[in-house]
C-alpha cells in the first residue's frame, strides 16, 4: 500500500472561479487537512473522508489546470488546484482509496441505528416529476396519500418500486438535440451606421459555433491566440476585416493585407486544416464508386454553376488563386457541416466554452476514427473482393455458414424420460393389464359395428333432464356473470363499491409487496417497517368486511368471493408474521446469560 499520508502544495477554491488560497494539503487515511500559507486566512479545513461522497478531477489532456473536486454528502464541494498533474493523480488515488475504506464502516454503523431512514438525495427535478405524476394519476395520489401521509411507508420506499414510471416521465421531457440550421448564418451582413464609417457585426453563440465548425482554421486560430495574444474583440475584428476584404472581391488588396498581418492572413487564405481533411477523404474513397460523368456534372464552363454571390461577377487572376473563395466552396462546406450533424451539448454561453466544446468533440471523433483500424481492414478486403475480375478467377462456391440444428429428438426424448418417471396421478385405478384394456376397447368397437347405434340414441327423460339442467345453468350464469367468459364480475357492481374494492386491492398489493420484501428481517429498521405494515393491513381487514355487508343481496356472493381472496392474502401475511415473531422470541430466549 502507498504511504499512509500524502502532503502536497495546493490552492483551495470554494468555487471554480475563485482564484484560490495557496496552502498545504495533508491527507491521512481518514481525513484531510488544509492549512493556508497565510495564518490569518479563514480557510482552514479539517474534513473526515467519511463525509466525502465523491471526487472529480480535470483531465490531463484538457487545457484546464489540475483541479480535484471533493463533494461532501451535504452537496458542498472542495476544490483543490495542484501544481502539476502527477500531484493530482497521487492525491486522487489516495482519496479514492480512503473513501472506499471509510465507506464500509458507516454503512455497518447505520444498519444498527434505530429506525433511521436511509438518506435520500432527491434532486429538485425528480421531486417535480413525482409531483407531476401524482397530479396526473389520481389513483396513485390516493394510494400515496393513504400510505405515505398516513405514515405507513416512507417516500423512498413508495417511489422505489415506481422508478419505471418516473423514468418514463423524465424521458418524455428529454431535450431534442438541435442540429445546425441550414441557413448560412455565418454569412453575417453587418449593420451600417449611415453617419459614421462604422459597421457593426452582431455575434451570437450559435453563429460562433457555426463559424468554428465550418472553418477549422479560424477555430484553431482562436484557441491559439485568444486570450494569450489578443483579446476576443480584436480577434473578431480581424476576422470581419478579412470577411470584408473577401466581399469586396479585391484579391489584390487581400494579398497585400495578408502580407502585412499574419493573423489576418490566416483568415484570408484557404483553410489549411480543411484541405488536409479533404485530402484524407480523397484517399479513402472507395475505388469501386462509379465516377461516370454526365451533363449534370458539368461545373467547369460556368463558374459557380452560374450562381453569383451578391450579384457580382468573379474575375480572378491566377496568382491570387490562394485568396479566392467562391460561393460553391462556401455552400459545399456549409452543407457538409450541417449534414455531419455534430451536436455540442454544452450550454453556449461564451465563445470560449463554444470553442472548447467543439475542440473536445473533434478530439473524440478523431480518437474514434483512429481506433477504427479494423474497419479500414474490412474496407480494403471488400474492395479487393469487389474489384476482382470474375472471368479471370476460378469459381469458388457460395460462402458457407456453419449449420447448427439442435436435434429436436433431444427435447422430446428428455420429455419422454421425465414422463415415464412421472409419479402416479390420483384417479381410479386401472385394474386391467394393458392387453386386456386394448382388448376390451376393440370389443366395444366390434360390438357397436354389429349391433348398430343405440336406438333411441338417448332416452327421452334423460334428454329432458339434460335440457332443463342446461337451461337453468345458462340463465343463472348469464344473469350473474355475463355473456363472455372473459366478462368481469366487477363491472356488475355499483360503481362506488367497485372503486372501493379496487382501491383496497391496490393498497393491499402495495403493502404486501413491501411486507414480503422486508423478510428476512435483518435490521431493526425492517422490523419497524414490518410492524407498521402489519398495523395498516389489520386496519384494512375490517373495512373489507364492511363492504361485504353493505352490498345488496344479489351481488353479495361475488363480492364475498373477491373479499375472501383478499382476506386470504392478508391472512397468509399475518401468519407469516406471527410465525416469524414466535421464532424470534424462541431464539432470543435461547441465548445464554440473558445476553440481548
Amino acid at each position: 500500500m502507498a504511504s499512509a499520508q500524502v502532503i502536497k502544495r495546493a490552492k483551495y477554491k470554494t468555487t471554480v472561479k475563485d482564484p484560490g488560497t495557496a496552502g498545504v494539503l495533508k491527507m491521512a487515511w481518514d481525513r484531510f487537512i488544509f492549512t493556508p500559507n497565510h495564518p490569518n486566512s479563514a480557510s482552514n479545513l479539517d474534513v473526515e473522508f467519511r463525509f466525502i461522497k465523491g471526487h472529480k478531477n480535470t483531465k490531463e489532456g484538457s487545457n484546464k489546470p489540475p483541479w480535484l473536486n471533493l463533494t461532501n454528502d451535504q452537496g458542498g464541494s472542495y476544490i483543490f488546484e495542484f501544481e502539476s498533474y502527477p500531484d493530482l493523480h497521487t492525491c486522487r488515488d489516495f482519496v479514492g482509496k480512503s473513501i472506499g475504506r471509510s465507506g464500509e464502516t458507516p454503512t455497518a454503523a447505520s444498519g444498527k441505528t434505530d429506525a433511521s431512514l436511509p438518506d435520500e438525495q432527491i434532486s429538485t427535478a425528480e421531486l417535480e416529476l413525482r409531483i407531476k405524476l401524482l397530479r396526473e394519476n389520481s389513483e396513485l395520489q390516493k394510494l400515496h396519500k393513504q400510505l405515505v401521509i398516513g405514515g405507513i411507508l416512507t417516500e423512498a420506499e413508495f417511489w422505489a418500486t415506481r422508478k419505471k414510471l418516473l423514468d418514463r416521465e423524465s424521458s418524455r421531457k428529454s431535450k431534442q438535440r438541435v442540429g445546425f440550421k441550414s441557413a448560412m448564418i455565418s454569412d453575417i451582413k453587418p449593420a451600417t451606421d449611415g453617419r459614421t464609417n462604422k459597421v457593426t457585426f452582431s455575434l451570437t453563440p450559435e453563429v460562433i459555433l457555426q463559424i468554428f465548425a465550418e472553418k477549422p482554421a479560424v477555430h484553431a486560430a482562436f484557441l491559439k491566440y485568444v486570450p494569450k495574444k489578443m483579446t476576443e474583440k480584436d480577434f473578431w475584428t480581424k476576422y470581419f476585416k478579412a470577411e470584408y476584404l473577401h466581399s469586396t472581391r479585391n484579391a489584390v488588396a487581400a494579398a497585400a493585407e495578408a502580407a502585412e498581418d499574419e493573423e489576418l492572413a490566416i483568415f484570408l487564405r484557404n483553410d489549411d486544416i480543411l484541405a488536409k481533411e479533404a485530402r484524407q477523404k480523397i484517399r479513402r474513397v472507395d475505388p469501386t464508386v462509379n465516377m461516370e460523368a454526365d451533363q449534370g456534372d458539368d461545373y467547369m464552363h460556368l463558374p459557380d454553376h452560374g450562381l453569383f454571390r451578391d450579384g457580382g461577377k468573379d474575375i480572378i487572376e491566377s496568382q491570387y488563386e490562394l485568396y479566392r473563395r467562391t460561393l460553391a466552396h462556401d455552400l459545399n462546406r456549409h452543407a457538409a457541416v450541417v449534414l455531419e450533424g455534430r451536436t455540442v451539448e454544452v450550454e453556449l454561453e461564451d465563445t470560449r466554452t463554444v470553442a472548447e466544446a467543439l475542440a473536445k468533440l473533434k478530439r473524440v471523433e478523431s480518437a474514434n476514427e483512429d481506433s477504427d483500424g479494423t474497419a479500414n481492414q474490412g474496407i480494403l478486403e471488400r474492395i479487393a473482393r469487389i474489384t476482382e475480375i470474375e472471368d479471370l478467377q476460378a469459381s469458388h462456391g457460395p460462402p458457407l455458414a456453419p449449420l447448427c440444428i439442435k436435434d429436436p429428438r433431444d427435447y422430446f426424448d428428455s420429455q419422454q424420460v421425465i414422463a415415464v418417471k412421472a409419479p402416479a396421478a390420483e384417479g381410479k385405478k386401472c385394474n386391467l393389464s394393458s392387453r386386456e384394456a386394448y382388448g376390451s376397447l376393440r370389443d366395444s368397437i366390434s360390438q357397436t359395428k354389429q349391433m348398430g347405434l343405440l336406438n333411441p340414441v338417448v332416452k327421452t327423460k334423460d334428454a329432458l333432464q339434460v335440457f332443463n339442467a342446461l337451461s337453468h345453468d345458462i340463465s343463472r350464469t348469464k344473469y350473474d356473470v355475463g355473456k363472455n367468459p372473459q366478462d368481469s364480475v366487477l363491472d356488475k357492481l355499483p360503481s362506488t363499491t367497485k372503486e372501493q374494492l379496487l382501491h383496497h386491492w391496490t393498497s393491499i398489493q402495495e403493502l404486501l409487496r413491501h411486507f414480503w420484501s422486508s423478510y428476512p428481517i435483518t435490521s431493526s429498521y425492517l422490523y419497524a417497517k414490518v410492524n407498521r405494515l402489519k398495523d395498516a393491513m389489520s386496519q384494512i381487514y375490517p373495512q373489507l368486511e364492511e363492504i361485504k355487508k353493505s352490498v345488496p343481496a344479489h351481488h353479495k356472493q361475488h363480492v364475498s368471493v373477491l373479499v375472501r381472496q383478499m382476506h386470504q392474502a392478508l391472512d397468509a401475511a399475518f401468519q407469516h408474521y406471527d410465525a416469524d415473531l414466535q421464532k424470534r422470541s424462541a431464539k432470543s430466549s435461547e441465548r445464554p446469560n440473558g445476553y440481548v
Binding site: 420429455q415 421425465i418 414422463a419 415415464v420 412421472a422 409419479p423 402416479a424 396421478a425 390420483e426 384417479g427 381410479k428 385405478k429 386401472c430 385394474n431 386391467l432 393389464s433 394393458s434 392387453r435 386386456e436 384394456a437 386394448y438 376390451s440 376397447l441 376393440r442 366395444s444 368397437i445 366390434s446 360390438q447 357397436t448 359395428k449 349391433m451 348398430g452 347405434l453 343405440l454 340414441v457 338417448v458 332416452k459 334423460d462 334428454a463 333432464q465 339434460v466 335440457f467 339442467a469 342446461l470 345453468d473 345458462i474 350464469t477 348469464k478 356473470v481 355473456k483 363472455n484 367468459p485 372473459q486 428476512p520 435483518t522 435461547e590 445464554p592
Partner: protein
C-alpha cells in the same frame, strides 16, 4: 349457376375437427361404456352433417401412444357402403378406429405405471391445427373451423408446454377449442384451452344424455354462436406445471427472460440459458448455523 358460387361458404358453414379420446386405460375404467359413447358421438356427427350440406367433419383419435385421422368427410366416398343398421360414416369410422387401436397397442412399450395413463392430447391438437391451417390456405372461401375435444383421460403434466403452445397458436388463428370432458375430475388444460380461445368447456353431469349435451351446446356453427347463449364455466384452473419435473405447482420460480416455470431454485434456466442469482434464504440461514455451532 352463376349465382350459386356466391351462396357457397356462407357464414354458417363449419368444419368440425373432433378429437376423440381412445385411451383404453381410461375407457376400461369409465362409468360410461365406450360402445354407448361412440353411438352418441356418431349420431351427433351425423346431425352436424345434416345441418348444412357443406359442413365438414374430421375425426382424430387420441390414443395412448399415437394419434391419427380416423375419418374425413371431405375425402372421396368411403369404400364400404352402409349396412342396414349403420350409415357409411359409421362403418368407415368404426373400421378405422379399430385399426387405430391395433396400431396403438403395437406401439405400447411398457405398462403404464400407476393408475391412469394420459392420452396424447398435445399430439392430436397439433394435428388438428395443422389440418386447419391447410384449410385456411386452400383459398379465400373455406368453412369456419373449430375444434371439439371429447376427452376423458387425465392431464399429463409433461404435455403442459406442448399443449400451451397449441392453445396459443389456436388463439392466434382464432380457432375456438370446445371441450366436453367426460372424465372424473376437471381437466385444467382443457379449461384453459376453452378460456383462452373463446370456446365452451362442459363437464356433463348426466353421461347418459351425452348426445343431448353435444347437440345442444356444440352443434352450432361459429356464426350462430353470436346470438346464442352457451354455458359458461365459472372458474378456470390456471395452475401450471413446472418445466423441470412436470409437476403441477401453485408457487414456483420463474425465469424473467423466457418465463419458464421451475419448482426449485436452479442455477441456470434450462430453456434460455440465462444464469440466475442467489436466493435470499441462504443469507438468513448462515447466522443460524454459526450460532448453533457456538452454542454446542
Amino acid at each position: 349457376m352463376a349465382s350459386a358460387p356466391s351462396k357457397l361458404y356462407a357464414d354458417d358453414v363449419s368444419l368440425l375437427v373432433v378429437l376423440l379420446d381412445a385411451n383404453p386405460f381410461f375407457w376400461s375404467a369409465s362409468s360410461l361404456p365406450f360402445s354407448k359413447f361412440i353411438s352418441h358421438v356418431i349420431s351427433f356427427l351425423n346431425s352436424v352433417l345434416l345441418l348444412n350440406q357443406l359442413n365438414q367433419i374430421v375425426v382424430i383419435a387420441t390414443g395412448h401412444n399415437c394419434c391419427d385421422y380416423v375419418y374425413d368427410s371431405s375425402s372421396p366416398a368411403s369404400r364400404s357402403a352402409g349396412t342396414g343398421k349403420l350409415s357409411a360414416l359409421s362403418v368407415d369410422l368404426l373400421e378405422k378406429l379399430e385399426e387405430f387401436v391395433g396400431r396403438d397397442e403395437k406401439l405400447l412399450k411398457k405398462e403404464p405405471e400407476g393408475s391412469i395413463a394420459s392420452s396424447l392430447l398435445s399430439g392430436s391438437l397439433s394435428m388438428a391445427l395443422c389440418y386447419i391451417q391447410r384449410v385456411f390456405r386452400s383459398g379465400p372461401r373455406h368453412p369456419h373451423p373449430r375444434i371439439l375435444c371429447l376427452h376423458g383421460s387425465q392431464d399429463g403434466p409433461e404435455q403442459y408446454v406442448a399443449i400451451m403452445n397449441a392453445i396459443f397458436s389456436a388463439q392466434r388463428s382464432m380457432v375456438p377449442i370446445d371441450s366436453c370432458f367426460i372424465g372424473a375430475q376437471n381437466s385444467a388444460f382443457l379449461q384453459q384451452a376453452s378460456y383462452i380461445t373463446g370456446g365452451v368447456y362442459l363437464k356433463p353431469q348426466l353421461l347418459e344424455g351425452t348426445f343431448q349435451y353435444l347437440s345442444t351446446v356444440f352443434g352450432t356453427d361459429l356464426h350462430s354462436r353470436g346470438f346464442l347463449q352457451l354455458p359458461k364455466s365459472v372458474g378456470v384452473d390456471f395452475r401450471a406445471s413446472c418445466f423441470c419435473h412436470k409437476k403441477t405447482i401453485d408457487m414456483g420460480y420463474i425465469c424473467s427472460v423466457c418465463l419458464s416455470i421451475f419448482c426449485k431454485h436452479h442455477k441456470k434456466c434450462s430453456t434460455c440459458g440465462s444464469v440466475f442469482g442467489q436466493p435470499h434464504s441462504e443469507a438468513a440461514s448462515e447466522p443460524n448455523k454459526k450460532r448453533k455451532a457456538g452454542d454446542t
